[in-house]
Every structure is written in C-alpha cells, then in structure tokens.
Amino acid sequence: MNPMNWPVVFPEIVLLTMACVIAIADLFVSDPARRLTFWLTQATLAVVALLHLDALNAGQSMFGMQGMVVSDPLGHLLAFFAALATMVTLAYAQPYIAPRDMMKGEFFTLSLFSLLGVCVMVSANNFLVVYLGLELMSLSLYALTALRRDHGQSTEAAMKYFVLGALASGFLLYGLSMMYGATGSLDIQRVFEVIGKGQANQQVLVFGLVFIVAGLGFKFGAAPFHMWVPDVYHGAPTAVTLLIAGAPKLAAFGMAMRLLVEGLLGLATDWQQMLVVMSLASLFIGNLAAIAQTNLKRLLAYSAIAQIGFVLLALTSGVVSGNTLSAGNAYSSALFYMVTYVLTTLGSFGVVMLLARQGFESEEISDLAGLNQRSPWMAAVMALFMFSLAGIPPMVGFYAKLSVLQALVTTNLTGYLWLAVIAVLLSLIGAFYYLRVVKVMYFDEPAADARRLHGERGVQALLAVNGAAVLVFGLLPGGLMAMCSSAIVRALAT
C-alpha cells in the first residue's frame, strides 16, 4: 500500500483551509468593499501559486494519498498557471462585481473552491479523483454563474450550464466505468499497463472511450459539444465568464493529458481520429460563427471554440503510425497553446470588464468604437490581444499556432499536412473578425455619449502588464516553450 505522503498535497491543503477560513472570516467583514476578503483571497492564491512553482522546480515525480494523486511537473505547471489566472481574474473582477451586488464572500470562496477542483484534476492519478476534481470545479462554477439571482440572463445561463455540464459529467463517468469494467482498475498507471498488454476487451474499451472523449469535448467546449459555450459566456456576469474561460481550460487540458495520454495512450489511434473530427468541426464552426457575432462576449466564445480546435489538433499528432516519438513535441505544443491562450483571454475579458460601468455592460463590439480616442493605452492593449488571437507575429499567439503546425508537419504524413493547410486557411477567416474588433477600436468614431476612460488605475496597469506579456513572450517565446516542453517530457517519462 502506498503511503499518504502528505507533502504532495500541501498546496491543496492550504487552498482548502484558506477557502474555509475566508468563508468564515467574511461573515465578520463589515466593509462593503470587502477589502479583507479580497486581499486574503489574493494572498492565498499567491501562496498556492508559489508552492506549485516551488514544487515544479523541485521536479521529482511523487505519488501521494495512497497513489491517488501525483506530483509531477505537468500538474504543478498547470496548477501554477491556473492559480495565476484566478488571481488576475479576481483583480480584474473586483471593480466590476462591486456595483453589481456580487461583492460577497461567496464569490471569493467559490472561486477558491473551483481552483481547488482544478488543482485536484490536474494532479489526479485515478479516474475517480479526476471526476471528483471536475465536479468540485464545475459545481462551484455553476453557482458562480447564478450568483446574480435577480438577473434573468445569468440565471438562464446557469441553468443551461448546469444541465449540459451534468450531462457531460454523466458521459464521462459512464465512459470511466466502462474502462473500469474492461481493465479492472481505476488507477491511471494500471489502466495504461493493462491496455498495453492487450488483456482488455477492445470493444468495451473503445465504447467507453467514445463517452470519455464526448465528456472531454463538453468540458473543452469543442464542437459538436460547444452549444453551451456562447450562451454561458454571454449570459454569465463577465467576471464569471472569465473564471470559466481561464483556469478551467487549463484543467480540461490537464484532464485530457491524464485520461487520454497517460491512461489510454494504447487507444491513441482511436481517440486521435475522434479529436481530428472535433478539432476540424471546432475550427469551422468557431471561425465561421464568430463572423456573424455583434456581441463581444459571444465573439470571444466562438473564438474560444476555434482556438480549442487548434489545441485538439495538436493532441492528434502525438502518436503517428504507432510511434510515440513525436508525442513530446505534439503535447507540449498543445500545452503552450493552452497557456498562451489563457493569457490572452484573461486580458481580452479584462478589457471588456474595464469598459463596463454602472448599469452598462459594454458587451457589444460597437461599444468599443473609437476606443483609441478614449483611451489609446487600452485600445493598444486590446489590439495586442486581438492580433495575438489571430496569430499574427510578433504576438505570442503566433508561436502557439506555429508550434502546433510544426507538430503536424513534422509527422511527415500527407494527411497531417492537409490538416495543417486547412487549419491555416480557417485561421485566415479567424483573422477577419479579430481585425474587425481592431477596426472598430481604431477606425470608427466614438459614440457621442462615450467618455474618456478614467479611474481603475490598478486594473489598467495590470492590463498593460498583461498586454506587455503577450508581446514580450512573442518576441522571446523560448523560455515559456522550454518550460512547457520539459513538463510534458517528464510527464511522459513516468
């Protein structure tokens, strides 16, 4: 029997304890701005991020909780970025939620719990632990979406999110139980070994795999399981949209790595085919539907679908003709894509929140009109995000696309080469609607009642840092790339 090995889950223990402490402490906060709650939450997140960073540098892969969780660079890297993303989200959100009657202890506690779910998922070593983390994260997010009780759109979005999310969880759980039936274990390593030896019933495995991939597709928000994405992104309060669009994407990637790669690599030829279909569908639907959007949040939702298509595309090129030589290359490009995408998404929703003010959501693309005249800095920052999402160098989004395309071309198979060409052509369509946002900000005149942006110096400064990161990682992407690829290589080695 494996030992408990408590230090492995130390960051999660800190997170759980502090989430409870903050929930209680908030009861005694009389300050309407809830400064204490906010700063305690931020401090907790900073500590968790640092703990994960420290563990990442320590580097040794260890198992804990009787083999239920694993401490490896991949998990720590994802958890680190997730904690960072949550920190940034809350910082952007603080001025937004106050006038919308959401500045309550629940907002912060639930955010912490959803992060806890993310952390559990990305370091799970057991199918049930993956599921446990997923549910913790999802339930927190459902509740967060519904936090504005008296707001019809939010409530509707929460219902939609909950029903479809529960369905997806059901799929996933069903698939996992199939795996258990075929292999007799829930332990990821053990499942991998059994499949590798060819002892399991192939039909049951593939049958279960379909459900697992479908469940993952829901969580990624990939077509054809993308229906909830635009509605939830649109309906949820923007602060919560960002909570959904940030860290959970990293979690979905972690989940895909743990389930598909570490557990079911033996079935790679099967799930890669499914992912190819899903990624192409996502690229098509995401890019084409985004053109028709007038609402900025919906546009970013469809853009998220398209971007996820690229991530899935990278995951498809790991195992080529039964050979895993290119796996490190493929999965690290997917990880790099995910990390840079989250970085960019944080900023773009941050701008949307900054522009919103009391009684006015600033969600339409036309609300950005003439932003360059109202606030040249914020317009420039938003333009950086848009060009990055479109994949124009020297922004970091370009290198993300580049590394995915490189992984495809390196397989040296005509089929993958065509996939790369299709992906490239579809991203050209994508460039159109990102450019349209830039056009509205720079070429259109501001509306008559639009004012110069003022106030929120802190948020503006953070957005500028976020924009600078998109540019600097674009000029010098080497470090971040190396970080991602070493995490993947070491995860594959175990």
């Binding site: 360059n372 160098p393 370009f398 580049l402 395309l405 080469l417 460039a431 830039v438 010098l476 190396a482």
Partner: protein, 491 residues
C-alpha cells in the same frame, strides 16, 4: 549590438516611445522626435554601404544569437549585395515620409509617426533576416502598422482597403509558413535560410515549395492576377502610406523571390520560369494599358507600379546577370520614383482634396516649382535616359534580348505605354490653360515640400547618371546566386 540590429531596433524603439508617451498637445515635439529618430535610423545604415566588401558574395555584418531553442531558431542577421541597398533605402524613405506628414497630419500625430518608424524597423528586419522564422515574423508584423495607417488616416473606403490589404497578404504568407515548416522538417530542424539553400529536394517538393512561396511573394509584389488589393490600398492610404507601400513593401515580395524561391527551389524555378515570365509580361503590357485609362492619379501610379514590378520579376526569371541586376536596380529606382510620384499627388491633394485628373489642368501656371519636379518624376517613371528609371528597365530588356528577342520586344512596349500614361497625365494635370478657380488659387510648394522632393530628385538623378555604386555592390552576389540556381538540387 551590430549595425543591423541598431538599424532595426532604433526606429522601433523611438516609435514605441512615441506611441506610449506622445500626445497631440505636444505634436511639435512628437514631430521633431520622429524626425530625429528616422534620421538617426538612416545615419546608422550608411556604414553598411561604405563598409561593404563588394568583392565578397558572403553575408556581411552578421549577427547571430540564440532565439528560440526549442525550434533551433536564431536571431541571425546579415546582408549580401542583393539586400544591402534596401536597408538605407528603407530608412531614407522613412525620413521622407516623416517630413511629408509634418503639417498634413494633425490628429494622433504620435500614432502616425510611431507606426511609420516601427514599420521602417520591421522592413529592415525583413531585408536582413537570415533565419526563416525571423524573416516570417518581420514579414508578417509589417501588416499591423500598415493596416492601422490605412485604416485611420485613409480615404473614404479606407476600411475596405485595409481589410483587403491585410487578408490578401495574410493568405499568401500563411501558405509560405507551411512551406517554411516543411523546410524546417526536411532540413532536420534548422531555420537557417543558408542551410535551406544547400538542401537537396526532389522536383515535386520543390514545385510545391515554389508555389507556396509564390503565393506569398506574388501577392506582395504584386503580380497579375493577384494585384487587385494594391490599387485599393494605394488610393485609400494616406500619402505616407502609399509612399512606403510602393517604395518598400512591394520590394519585400520581390526580395523574397531572390532569397527563397530561386535558391531554395532552383529546379522548380527553371521549370516554372515560363509562368512567371508570362505573368510579368501581362503585368507590363496589360496593366500598362489599364494605367492609361485611369481617372484617379493615385490609381494611375498604382497600376504603373504593378507594371514596373513586372519588369523586376521578368528580370529575375530570365536567369541572366543583367536581368537579375537590372531587376534589383529597378526595385531601388522604383522605390525613389514611385515614392516621389505619390508625394507629388499628396502635395496636390493637400491643397485641392481631389485626386481626379479631370479636376486639374494648368497647374504649371500656379505652381511652377512643383510642376518642374512633378514633370521630372513623371519622365523618370516612363524611363527617360539619365534618370534611374532608365537604368533598370534597360538592363532587364538587354538581358531579355539575349534570352529571347520576342520577349524583349514585348517587354519594350512598356516603355511606350509608360511614356503614354505618364505624359498624358502630365499634359492633363500640369499643362494647358488654368482649368478652374481652384487651380488658380493654388500656392506653390513651401520649403518643406521642396526639401523632400529635392532629396528624391537628387537620388533619381544620381542613380540615373552614375549607377555604378549600386551595380558594383550587387555584382558578386548576383553572379553567385545565378551559379547556384544553374546547379540542380535534385537528389
């Protein structure tokens, strides 16, 4: 930091500072800082010419630093005889553009100046990158400032033109990106352009690469039939945008043929040369005729640019020293002349707010100094001996005669059409009676406008009367390139 790095990053740095800190309240200061930045950027490129070893075909002023280790991509810069003149040309044109905008641009001056300075640095980067990925990054990044320039300060249909410009060029370059990745894979994980030159490839792969590069560069040049974005972009862009577009951005495409298509896929280049020659001749003749019927002066010059760039690609693909050198000379010369032509139109437009030929007539009576310049540049544009326009076209035609007399005869018709559309425009706009009260009210150019036109006129004359400094520099590199292209790389 080497010279090339300074030439790239100095303008970008100054541009970035202007973007970040400039305000319209301090427009005067912004202008002077922009001018100083552009001028300093030009000064640092002069040692590139004076210190260039004309007897060597090797890359000079090289700098190599590790950049992205995962891709084994390097920050590798260097210029040979083919590229070196374009660096000072870019910086020079930027100085002119800053001067030309001095009083014309009054809103968001810092963004205008900043965009042009950044654009200048990026374009120098394209000409000096020796790493495929670095080249691509610079090549693509130039789209962003140009998109903004056309979109903010352009004419009534500026949004359409900006989108068309961006998406058209992006489509071409994305296909090139796949080609670059394919080469990266085939060369065993190297982005070094010079390694790719030596890489043996089968004809089928070469052809695919050739067409992928063709997609990127033919759009940029632009060649017939993918030229349609250019008239739109030129007409809608502000004067400075048109100048940079015509003078330098089009050259990025032609330069790409020399740096990528010819040396990386020499067999495919020879295989498909007929296609390029045919398209070039169509550009020269058909687009020349199209230019003849234009009502809008900017459109006329835009079409004439396409026709002149046809000469460049024609020269490249007849694979003779005269042809290739002539093409490069034509590129540099067209940089000066087309820039000057657009500036002349800008001078008129600033006063009359019209580019229609029909709105003018007899300008020489009210603006004698300006008309002298304008007529001179129109003559240069039609290839008058003694101006730079003559040298390049003459060399290309001479090279073509050696290859095939009839091709040369067809190409030479361009001189006739060129003279026709230029002189006809001159007649209608500048000569004759004063056409209307607006023309009567025109004031002649001031010292600022005189300065920018005079600088360009000197350059055009210099290159026309004494082209030796230009041809000497490129001679060894061109010879080596042609030897390389003549050898088969099939394996």
């Amino acid at each position: 930091m080497g010279l090339l790095s300074v030439a790239i990053w100095l303008p970008i740095l100054v541009g970035g500072v202007l973007l970040a800190l400039g305000r319209d309240e301090h427009a005067g200061t912004v202008r002077w800082i922009a001018l100083l930045g552009a001028f300093a950027g030009f000064l640092v490129t002069i040692p590139l010419i004076t210190g260039f070893d004309v007897t060597s075909a090797a890359m000079q002023f090289q700098e190599k630093l590790p950049w992205i280790e995962r891709f084994k991509a390097f920050y590798h810069l260097g210029v040979d005889g083919i590229a070196v003149w374009f660096v000072p040309l870019t910086a020079f044109i930027t100085v002119i553009v800053v001067i030309s905008a001095w009083q014309v641009i009054t809103e968001r001056v810092n963004q205008y100046m900043g965009a042009f300075l950044i654009l200048s640095g990026l374009m120098v980067g394209v000409f000096s990158a020796l790493d495929g990925l670095l080249f691509y990054v610079f090549f693509e990044a130039t789209l962003i400032p140009m998109y903004i320039i056309i979109g903010i300060w352009g004419g009534p249909k500026r949004v359409y033109a900006a989108f068309k410009f961006f998406l058209y060029t992006l489509l071409g370059s994305l296909l090139m990106l796949i080609a670059l990745l394919y080469l990266y894979f085939k060369s065993g994980g190297s982005f070094a352009i010079l390694d790719w030159h030596k890489l043996p490839l089968p004809l089928s792969a070469q052809s695919l690469l050739f067409f992928a590069f063709f997609a990127a560069f033919s759009v940029k040049v632009p060649m017939w039939p993918v030229h349609t974005w250019l008239p739109d972009a030129h007409v809608e862009a502000p004067t400075g945008g048109s100048v940079v577009l015509a003078a330098i951005m089009l050259k990025l495409g032609a330069y790409g043929f020399l740096r990528f298509s010819l040396p990386i896929a020499p067999d495919a280049s020879r295989e498909w040369a007929w296609l390029i020659i045919a398209l070039s001749l169509i550009a020269v003749i058909y687009i020349g005729l199209v230019a003849l019927v234009q009502q809008d002066m900017k459109k006329l010059v835009a079409y004439s640019s396409i026709a002149h760039m046809g000469f460049v690609t024609l020269g490249f693909f007849i694979f003779s020293e005269l042809g290739v050198s002539g093409g490069i000379v034509q590129m540099i010369s067209h940089g000066f002349i087309s820039g000057a032509m657009f500036l002349c139109i800008g001078v008129l437009y600033d006063r009359m707010h019209s580019r229609e030929i029909a709105d003018y007539g007899g300008v020489v009576n009210t603006m004698p100094k300006f008309a002298a310049f304008a007529v001179f540049f129109a003559m240069a544009n039609s290839g008058l001996p003694g101006t730079s326009g003559f040298v390049g076209e003459w060399m290309v035609i001479l090279g073509t005669v050696k290859a095939n007399f009839w091709l040369a005869a067809l190409a030479a018709t361009a001189l006739i059409f060129g003279a026709a559309y230029n002189l006809w425009m001159v007649k209608r706009v500048y000569f004759g009676e004063v056409a209307n009260p607006h023309v009567k009210a025109l004031t002649d150019i001031d010292s600022r406008e005189f300065l920018m036109l005079a600088l360009l006129a000197v350059a055009v004359m210099w290159m026309g009367l004494y082209p030796k400094p230009f041809t000497d520099v490129m001679h060894v590199s061109v010879t080596q390139l042609l030897q390389h292209v003549a050898q088969s790389k099939l394996n």
